[in-house]
Symmetry: C2
Subunit: 244 residues, 2 copies
Amino acid sequence: MTTNSLPTDGNANHYRHLEQHFRYLINQEALLPGDKLPSEREIGEQFRLTRITVRQALQTLEAQGLIYRQNRRGWFVSPPAVIYKPAQRKSFVEYVSKQGLHPQTELISQELIAADQQLSKQMQTSKGTPLLKLHRRRSIEGRPVLIEHMILNVNLLSGIEKEDLSQSLTRMLPRFGQTYHAMDLTFKSTALPTSAATDLGIAAGLPGLQIERINYNESGEIIEIDYEYWRHDAVIIQVGIHGQ
Amino acid sequence: MTTNSLPTDGNANHYRHLEQHFRYLINQEALLPGDKLPSEREIGEQFRLTRITVRQALQTLEAQGLIYRQNRRGWFVSPPAVIYKPAQRKSFVEYVSKQGLHPQTELISQELIAADQQLSKQMQTSKGTPLLKLHRRRSIEGRPVLIEHMILNVNLLSGIEKEDLSQSLTRMLPRFGQTYHAMDLTFKSTALPTSAATDLGIAAGLPGLQIERINYNESGEIIEIDYEYWRHDAVIIQVGIHGQ
DNA sequence: GTTCAAATCTGGTATAGACCAGATATACAA
DNA sequence: TTGTATATCTGGTCTATACCAGATTTGAAC
């Protein structure tokens, strides 16, 4: 058999060098958050590496949260992660702004439905209860970072479906005589489901952080259940646990 | 230029089919937790795909937490994730066992040191305070899932360095007149640092979950600071937040 | 200037083949 | 039976090349 390839140098860890190169540029602030990296092909030419090797390096940097990609648009330097402290009960807009970053919320869809068997059980309410399903996308510094699927108990928030639902719910609740009192949180590091990945404009199957949040009012009724899918590199969670 | 390749069929999503195939086998329990998958080369032959394509499918399943790899040993089906509820203050051994899984702890290293400038600040104690650095690996069902780096204040736990430190600290503390009272937790989804990845026997740069935990006693002194690096697919975290 | 179709650029997916290092199994010697 | 050297297997890294689909830019027509 003839071989028509160059030597493969199969264990030289070229992609680690590339990784170091970009890590250095980012640390030195030669590349700033939001900046676009050269295309995979350009990087390959510059470093005399194949695209596969270049992609491996970029994917490693992505796993480390230093860069991210936008489908068929290119690779970009990640903005810093936002710190989320659930116990403070601040709205997304509030805690992102306080950290000097610029939040945005888009309403993707809303739907008024009646609770079926499964949903009524989940929401601890009776069958037929009116529920509002919300689907929103939230961005920081123009980068989509989180997809939200919410289910609200409209019996506790009657008329809420007529509000501007791209606004903060946390701030809206007092007008309906409700406040978040207790919440149950579940965190899980998992691959983003296809739909969430599409909404975030990234490739499916990338690692992400899933947060499930059940919000109770003072009476212990469920106001709202919230499923959030975050870009893995966009958030740091801090929780304090006190007393016995 | 001559072309000596077969058509590349460059957008057929073959690896999604492979992904579905194994997902199905795992769901049907034709493949059980801990089972070894065929080698990448065997899978490639069976499905007439290149190894690169096969690897892409396997890596996607890995991101979803369904399978994991051991360096140069092969791919295996993941055991179910363990649920960790920090507020319950149960030991690792306790909450893993309660879920019907088998925990193990290995002490990798221990070192008695004196607090320098930085450490004393971190531990909120005076310079020169004796500290114990622990480095442990914990496994579930024989699979290493977490690397722990701990720093203990020996002034609060004098003589602890003579104990068997592969045992549960949580259970050991009462003997030293200490109990975990409050804790501050920070969660971050990030790539595993090289050292942690090596200790877990996996490739560096894979996504993981980093937990930082600061444990306080009743007097508000720091007993211990704990840095944990978890396999991303090995743990689900649940926290309840109550009261204002 | 505005509109819209075509060219171009970018990442996504894929084939074919290769060498390396660590883990494992095998066979042989003591 | 017990080591131990060796062959083999497996994933890890790499070259070279190709086509596809969506995003962006370009340029011509209006």
